[in-house]
């Protein structure tokens, strides 16, 4: 399926839940509401015409310093989907605010989401509701803060941690 057709399909099926769609440099992106995210992801994986069987990547962007986006929701959680059957790609985004940075988990759909969501929690502090064990992945448990947030200075030092008993 061609990228524009995928976006049209999503808009037709989910209506207002698809907040925004665009195609930039050949990448087709749909921004969906948080409430509809689980349903959209499920549809993307299971619908035979879409058949996005691979969750290629899951990451987040702290848009609080992006021009024009300072006042909106702080985080964008970005899903890169790929279909082995149809060889097409789709980028899905969901925007969440700093006060309530919670997104439904994708672990039941793709087990790889387990680690990727742990990494996003680790780096951005975005929580995933329903995740089996949302621990830090790249950093240690006692690490203070979430380093890929824009307000985390690149040279901040962490308190020294002694050996665990």
């Amino acid at each position: 399926m061609e990228g524009g057709a995928i976006l049209a399909e999503l808009r037709a099926r989910f209506g207002d839940a698809v907040v925004e769609t665009h195609a930039h440099r050949g990448d087709h992106t749909a921004v969906v509401t948080r409430e509809a995210l689980g349903e959209v992801l499920g549809h993307c994986r299971d619908d035979a015409r879409l058949a996005f069987d691979v969750l290629m990547d899951l990451t987040a962007v702290d848009v609080s310093k992006l021009p024009g986006r300072e006042d909106g929701p702080r985080f964008e959680v970005v899903y890169h989907l790929y279909s082995l059957r149809h060889n097409h790609r789709l980028r899905l985004k969901v925007r969440v605010s700093e006060d309530d940075p919670v997104v439904p988990t994708a672990v039941p759909l793709w087990p790889i989401a387990d680690w990727l969501e742990r990494e996003v929690w680790d780096m951005f502090g975005v929580r995933f509701q329903g995740h089996p064990a949302l621990r830090r992945l790249l950093l240690y448990e006692e690490f203070v803060g979430h380093p890929l947030r824009k307000d985390y200075p690149v040279n901040r030092r962490q308190p020294l941690i002694g050996p665990r008993t």
């Binding site: 050949g26 691979v54 962007v61 890169h80 082995l84 087990p111 790249l138 985390y152 690149v154």
Partner: protein
């Protein structure tokens, strides 16, 4: 999800503890275990010698690649991408550069695309040699390791010829590459490939069909096709379960669609299948590089007015004799990188876009436009400034899809750089591969994952 059952017969006494009701024990494997390649820690719950449950921790390498990219300019991230994968750094260089080029909307020159293909494939062979050699060594086949490292050495000499360094090559540039191929590269590459082929032949005879090796690899660490896809595993591990997905074929970039090669696959999905896929891929990579070298536009650099290759000494002699009709056609190479009088090479391998490419040094020193162009790219607050937006570009790394997701806010610094590391998904699925297997099976299985710490931890 269905998990393939691996049947195995217990030797007398070997499986005595299994199911006897005795207490399971916890064993921490790594991070100091020699087969753990550094930073990985696996907490395993054992029943006898069988791993019942495993928890994989990927350790703290703390490179902070993604955070560091936000500090410097767009080209300043190139050295960081080298260090993502120390055995195939060229692919990482080009993956990042291509993502930025996509964001900028610029086209690199055809010769540069061929150079990227050739050097990427050399890197891929180095990566597979290291992976297969190291995992064979962990099973006791030390000869194989030495042979493979010898073969890798031939290739690293090629890499050194092209880039000036062996590991930390920093060869890619947004919009091109650092320097052209050296003049005698073609001959050296063919000679090196001949030796690599001999090594691969030797290794095939040592390992493929070797009773001990097969006992350790066949049926071990298997993952089903469905599970491999659900875990987003790409590269040789995906092809080892029979899915012929390869970014170079599925979404061709550079000039891969002009070349004739195959995507090797296997059906079993176990460690042995992964080994066979990697061995076959090295052959294919050499095929690709050789074809690309045949097709690469440009040809010999020193030719006379009739197109015959000319060595520099003859050229000088002819000049002394007054035979100067072809002098203007001939670019002179004085230095192996772009510091000398290499303006023609510069135009061949770098995009014409003045927003991203530093001018040749003689232009910088010799004309005010060149000087201004140079400064506008070097000064803080200027430099490469992609328009606001985002792009995702994937290349086929040695371990699978290596994707870069870049976000620009219109300034000279990346707003966000995200690397989709190809070895993270197999590490996330590692516990599925080793649960139900024996402790000793952990070693070949972990070897077949080809975990690269720099990529995994970023």
């Amino acid at each position: 999800m269905a998990r393939p059952t691996t049947t195995r017969e217990f030797m007398l006494g070997e499986g005595a503890g299994t199911g006897s009701g005795s207490q399971n024990i916890h064993v921490g494997v790594g991070p100091a275990h020699p087969a753990m390649h550094g930073i990985i820690r696996i907490q395993a719950e054992l029943d006898g010698e069988v791993i019942v449950k495993a928890d994989v921790e990927i350790g703290y390498l703390h490179r902070a690649f993604e955070k560091d990219c936000e500090v410097g300019g767009w080209n300043n991230a190139i050295p960081y991408t080298d260090r993502l994968n120390y055995v195939s750094p060229l692919i990482n260089n080009f993956g990042y550069a291509s993502a930025v080029e996509k964001l900028l909307g610029i086209e690199i020159t055809e010769r540069c695309q061929y150079i990227r293909v050739i050097t990427s494939e050399i890197s891929r062979i180095c990566d597979h040699l290291t992976c297969v050699g190291a995992s064979a060594m962990e099973l006791g086949a030390f000869t194989v390791f030495l042979y493979m490292i010898k073969a890798r050495e031939f290739l690293w000499e090629l890499v050194e010829d092209v880039t000036g360094a062996r590991l930390t090559i920093s060869y890619g540039r947004v919009g091109g590459v650092k320097a052209d191929l050296p003049p005698d590269f073609g001959d050296k590459m063919r000679a090196a490939f001949k030796q690599v082929r001999e090594v691969l032949d030797e290794v095939h005879r040592l390992l493929t069909g070797n009773r001990i090796f097969m006992d350790r690899m066949v049926g071990v660490g298997a993952l089903s096709r469905e599970e491999t896809i659900a875990y987003a595993i790409t590269g040789p591990m995906l092809r080892a379960v029979g899915v012929p997905y390869d970014v170079r074929r599925a979404q061709p970039y550079y000039v891969y669609d002009r070349l004739d090669w195959e995507v090797p696959t296997q059906a079993a999905g176990d460690n042995f299948a992964r080994y066979l896929v990697r061995m076959a891929e090295m052959e294919q990579s050499m095929r690709i590089a050789e074809q690309a070298l045949d097709q690469i536009p440009g040809g010999p650099i020193n030719v006379d007015h009739q197109g015959r290759p000319l060595d520099p000494a003859t050229y000088v002699d002819q000049g002394k004799q007054g035979k100067t009709e072809s002098l203007l056609l001939i670019p002179i190479r004085l230095s192996p990188n772009l510091q000398g009088s290499e303006r023609p090479a510069h135009q061949r391998i770098n995009a014409a876009d003045k927003r991203v490419i530093l001018p040749p040094k003689e232009t910088t020193y010799g004309s005010i436009e060149g000087l201004m162009n140079h400064f506008m790219l070097i000064m803080e607050g200027y430099g490469i400034r992609p328009p606001p937006g985002e792009a995702y570009f994937a290349v086929e790394g040695a371990n699978g899809e290596l994707g870069f997701y870049v976000v620009s806010d219109g300034t000279d610094r990346p707003y966000r750089v995200r690397c989709r590391p190809p070895c993270l998904p197999p590490m996330a699925a590692l516990h599925r591969m080793i649960e139900g297997e024996m402790v000793a099976d952990l070693v070949p299985t972990f070897g077949s994952v080809n975990m690269i710490g720099g990529e995994l931890d970023r």
